[in-house]
Each structure stands twice: as C-alpha cells, then as structure tokens.
C-alpha cells in the first residue's frame, strides 16, 4: 500500500535497486536520423516533409559544390554498400548472441541472489528453532535441581550411616570392656577359691574322705550285688 500523501523522491537519488534498463533505444529511421526529427516536422509538412527537406538540401550542396564529388565519394559509396549489406545480413545473429550473453550474466546474478535468500531463510528457521528450544530451559533446570537434591540426600544419608557405625563401635568397645572385666574377675575369684579350698584340705581330712568313699563304695556294691 503506497501512502500517496508522503512526498516521494525528496532525498538524493539512491543507487540501489537500479531502475531497469529501457528495452529499446531511441528510434531512428534509416539508421541515421532520429524519429524526433520527423515528428518535429510532421505538424507543418506532413509525412514527406523531411524527405523533401533532405532532397533539397542534397541538391543545394551538390550544385553549390559545398559537397565536392571526388575519389572519396566513390570510396564512401563502396564502404557504405558493404557496411549496409553486412549489417542487414548478420545484424540479427549478432544481436541474438549479445542477448544470450546478457541472459547468462543476469542468470548468474539471479542464482547468487536466490542462493543468498535461501541461506538466509534457512538461517531464520534455525534461529526460530533455537528460540523454541530456549523455552524448554525450565524443564532443564528442574531436572538439574532434582539431581542436586538427590546428591545432597545421598551424601547426607551416607554420613549418617558413618556416624551410626562409629558410635556403635565405641559403645561395643565399652560393652566388651565391661564383659571382659567381669569375666576376668570371675575367673580370678574361681581360681582363688579353688586354690584356697585345695589349701584348706588338710591331709587328715583327705584320709577321712578317702575312707568314707571306700565305705560308701562297699555299701553301694553290696546293694548292687543284692539287686542283681
């Protein structure tokens, strides 16, 4: 939409993009005289005016010897004949060749431009994809936070276990110490009691106990023999 109220072409003529070249050059008639001359004379003298003017001018120049006819005239006539024949015969072919060259040049430039546009479009799409990816950073950070929390928890529990083991070892040590002490005391006392008892057994007591044992055994054997 072009807002026509805005003044156009107020600044310096900008060079890009250039306006396209005109298709055909200025019209000329007979390859020499621009059309503007004929159009200039048309209102006053019609179609034949310029030709009449040309003929009159030519006759005047020849008759007044302003244009002298000499060897150069003949040479000019021959050169002109050859030139016109050559142009009429090979003109279109040369034109097509030049057009083909131009087309190739334009095609190459267009290819470069399209390539550049395509590259930029792919760059735009990748950029949009990156922007979409950025939106997922919430999930990323949540996952990271969870990881960190889990690590902390694991570490904490490991240390708790270590503390528990250490304390248990110390308590076990104390318990073992007490048990050992009690046991040593017990053994020592038993030994002491046995020692004292053995010491207290006098030889007389020994003899008395042995005689008693023999009498008991005899009684037992008698009762056993009676039983059998």
């Amino acid at each position: 939409v072009l807002h026509a109220t805005r003044p156009l072409h107020t600044t310096q003529q900008c060079l890009a993009p250039l306006p396209p070249l005109p298709e055909k050059g200025g019209e000329v008639r007979h390859g020499l005289i621009p059309e503007e001359f004929f159009q200039f004379l048309y209102p006053k003298t019609g179609v034949t005016g310029p030709y009449m003017l040309g003929t009159g001018l030519l006759l005047y120049l020849l008759s007044k010897e302003i244009y002298v006819i000499n060897h150069e005239t003949v040479a000019a006539a021959c050169i002109l004949t050859v030139l016109i024949y050559g142009i009429k015969k090979y003109g279109p072919a040369v034109g097509e060749f030049a057009d083909k060259l131009n087309e190739e040049k334009i095609g190459r430039a267009l290819a470069v431009k399209n390539e550049a546009i395509k590259n930029l479009e792919t760059a735009i799409e990748q950029e949009k994809k990156e922007q979409w990816r950025v939106e997922g950073r919430n999930y990323l950070f949540d996952a990271k936070r969870n990881n960190v929390a889990m690590l902390l928890e694991a570490n904490y529990r490991e240390r708790m276990l270590m503390v528990y083991n250490e304390v248990k070892k110390r308590l076990d040590y104390q318990v073992a110490m007490q048990n050992l002490k009690r046991q040593r005391e017990q053994d020592h006392m038993i030994q002491w009691v046995e020692k004292n008892v053995i010491q207290s057994i006098t030889p007389q007591q020994q003899k008395d106990s042995i005689t008693k044992c023999i009498l008991d055994l005899k009684a037992l054997s008698k009762s056993a023999q009676a039983a059998v």
Partner: protein, 84 residues
C-alpha cells in the same frame, strides 16, 4: 519554467539569445554541459537492453560531417581535379 532551467529543445527561437546568456561559459560549466549531453545520448541510444545500429552510426555520421567540415578548405581546392 524559468528560462535558465529549460532544455534547448524547449526554448523558443525568439528567446534563444537570452537563453544563451544564462548558460554557464566557464570551463567547468562547459565540461558539465558536455558531460550532460554525452550522458543523455548514451542513455538514450547505447545503454539499452537491445540496441540497434543507431548507437554508433550516429556517432560515425557526426564524425564524418565534422571531418568534412574541417577539411573543406583543402577539398574545395580544384588543384587535383585537373589531374583526373
């Protein structure tokens, strides 16, 4: 528009001396005028997509006329016509 800014083609015959008085005769002005004339000719007949014979043929014809005019004195002497 005002006289000094019109092209030569738009100036009437009666105003021609006044128009000539307004144009710039200094070397820079002349050079600028020549440049403008050449660039307008160039853009009209040579700098187009599909040009015809008009581009150089006009230049060659102009050159022929100019050189004939310069050598007219020598050509118009009838000394060599006697040898024919």
């Amino acid at each position: 528009g005002p006289l000094s800014e019109r092209h030569l083609m738009d100036v009437r015959l009666g105003e021609l001396p006044a128009w000539l008085a307004t144009c710039d005769i200094s070397p820079q002005g002349l050079l600028g005028g020549i440049q403008k004339a050449w660039s307008s000719y160039y853009d009209k007949y040579i700098n187009v997509k599909r040009g015809g014979p008009a581009g150089i043929s006009l230049l060659l014809a102009g050159y022929c006329l100019l050189s004939y005019g310069w050598n007219y004195q020598h050509i118009s002497k009838s000394s060599f016509l006697a040898s024919v």
